[in-house]
């Protein structure tokens, strides 16, 4: 195995971030696997680990507060309703939405995009156009393709550069009087590219085109201010933000949400029902049919509380240093090619190694307790753009360490040794 002398290493992030303390907040980190290896969890773009506070909040809810929301007159139900609505208020504050009723709780980013594609898009006519980009997750491709089948819309793709960036000059040429929506990701789940969505939204708005942002990969890494961005829709998932799975958020500007028909119908989302006619509830309940994921919303609010108590600016700086360290160390691996080299990136790094399939890398690394994602990352058009069938991806969070990156690099050297 190649051993790189310590002096050749890029500088380790310095001690301003109390990494040991942060890691202790996450019970699963530092866990020994059955084979004795310590887990190195480098798949945070898939889902993040949960701090104790989140696990405790969910448990506390089920142990002491469980009741359905917006129904009971008894105090337990009142408390559950208050906790659920507090969670909504906390989310509002976290992304600086103007109104709490602009926050719709859903299952996740995928459902949020599907809601917009099914409800907002009812105003689209055949020949109307939706613009997406090459770097979208399937969740922001397939719903629009369905609309193409169902409503005859035209789907246009804003291409990226080889470095994995969007060129604003090319956008103007894609927009026209038939464009009804621009839907794009804030941060690519494969490349880590941070798109300049502020400028993009401004440009689209000059043409009076509303913009939907897939923020699933962004909220764990950046502060998001939906009013400053002036985005029309912003979607994200709780489980990528250190919260539970099955809870996610659609932010929509009030005027759009008001004008949109319900997405699903049933209980919780009505004001009155007779067999002749139904009046729908006001926002946001119009879009929350059925009993919502109450424990999920409470868990998500505990995650936001946890993040608010951290110094998020320092956390972000630490993540960037980790990213720089990982990029530099990965360049040591012979035959390794990074996908996407945008200067402005989140700590998400995808790569391929000559003559080794990503799946084999994943298996060899797993043997050493290192968890990375391999495959097409639900972004097959992007894989096609880079001419690869599959790639390996290491995605970092503020609780990862340079030691884990060192283990990744050693594991990759080892994989090359045994697989080539």
């Amino acid at each position: 195995m190649n051993v790189v002398p310590q002096s050749a290493h890029p500088t380790h992030p310095t001690g301003y971030w109390n990494i040991e303390r942060v890691r202790r907040d996450f019970p699963l980190l530092g866990r020994r696997l059955t084979d004795g290896n310590e887990l190195a969890y480098l798949d945070n773009a898939a889902t993040t680990q949960k701090p104790r506070a989140v696990i405790a909040a969910v448990e506390q809810y089920y142990r002491q507060e469980n009741a359905n929301v917006h129904r009971g007159v008894y105090r337990l139900a009142e408390r559950a309703t208050a906790a659920y609505e507090q969670a909504r208020e906390l989310v509002r504050e976290y992304i600086n939405a103007a109104e709490a009723h602009e926050i719709v709780f859903l299952r996740g980013t995928t459902e949020a995009i599907n809601l917009v594609a099914s409800s907002f898009a009812q105003r689209f006519n055949p020949g109307d156009e939706v613009v997406i980009t090459t770097m979208e997750h399937h969740a922001n491709i397939v719903p629009w393709q369905m609309l193409r089948e169902q409503r005859g819309i035209v789907l246009r793709v804003w291409p990226i550069s080889p470095s994995g960036e969007l060129d604003l000059y090319r956008l103007e040429g894609l927009l026209n009087e038939r464009t009804r929506l621009l839907a794009l990701t804030h941060i690519s789940n494969v490349l880590g590219t941070i798109n300049p969505i502020g400028q993009i939204i401004q440009l689209a708005h000059r043409h009076e085109i509303p913009v939907l942002i897939d923020g699933a990969q962004a909220v764990p890494h950046l502060p998001v201010d939906v009013q400053a961005l002036d985005c029309d829709f912003y979607c994200f998932s709780g489980h990528k933000l250190f919260g539970p799975t099955g809870i996610g958020v659609l932010y929509g500007k009030e005027r759009w949400l008001e004008s949109m028909p319900p997405y699903q119908t049933g209980g919780e989302m009505i004001r009155s029902v007779s067999f002749e006619q139904t009046t729908f509830a006001e926002l946001p309940y119009k879009f929350e049919a059925g009993t919502p994921h109450i424990a999920g919303a409470i868990g998500l609010s505990a995650a936001i509380d946890y993040l608010n108590a951290l110094d998020q600016e320092v956390a972000a700086r630490y993540e960037l240093e980790l990213l720089g360290y990982a990029r530099a160390r990965l360049h040591e691996i012979p035959g390794l090619r990074l996908l996407g080299e945008a200067p402005h990136k989140a700590p998400v790094i995808s790569f391929v190694i000559d003559d080794i399939h990503a799946h084999d890398l994943g298996t060899v690394l797993d043997e050493r307790g290192i968890a990375i994602r391999v495959g097409h990352h639900c972004a097959m058009p992007l894989m096609t753009f880079y001419g690869v069938a599959a790639a390996a991806r290491a995605s970092l969070a503020f609780y990862n360490t340079t030691d884990e990156i060192d283990r990744l690099v050693e594991g990759l050297h080892y994989a090359r040794e045994i697989l080539t």
Partner: protein, 150 residues
């Protein structure tokens, strides 16, 4: 390398991965089946020429992990010249070997036994069986266009 990993990536598997046998397009194939694993992006095309109930030529093209590629390569070597019945029987034996459903007769399988290392890696079993499902479908009369392990 720990024991299980050594069982998975045996030299013979790595060798087939590096130099796959019968790795070519067959323009005049009688049967042509795609084998895709949508989960990981393994994607092959299997080509067969049949004559008098025998596989007179077999080849493949495509890309995927070492396990899937070695498996198809070994398959192509093994069923070259075999009768359809022999190939179907072999499919059963290999399938049993890889899924651990029953102990397969080792005399029959020979080199293919190297694939048994996947049994300790449930996620990788599909990689090893991918090409075999494609073969089975290619041998069936009204085969669909695509074989998949999903």
């Amino acid at each position: 390398m720990n024991g299980d990993l050594r069982d998975l990536y045996q030299e013979i598997i790595l060798e087939h991965n590096r130099s796959p046998r019968n790795f070519r397009v067959m323009p005049d194939a009688h049967r042509r089946v795609s084998a895709d694993n949508p989960l990981c992006g393994d994607s092959y095309q299997l080509f067969l020429k049949l004559d008098g109930g025998r596989i007179v030529d077999i080849s493949f093209q495509g890309s995927g992990c070492a396990i899937s590629k070695a498996s198809v390569s070994m398959l192509s070597e093994r069923v070259m010249g075999a009768s359809i019945q022999e190939a179907e029987k072999l499919f059963q034996s290999v399938h049993a070997l890889l899924t651990g459903e029953q102990s397969a007769q080792s005399e029959q399988l020979g080199e293919l036994e190297a694939l048994a290392g996947v049994r300790n890696y449930p996620i990788r079993v599909k990689c090893a069986t991918l090409g075999w499902h494609a073969l089975k479908q290619a041998l069936e009369e009204d085969q669909p266009e695509t074989a998949t392990t999903e």
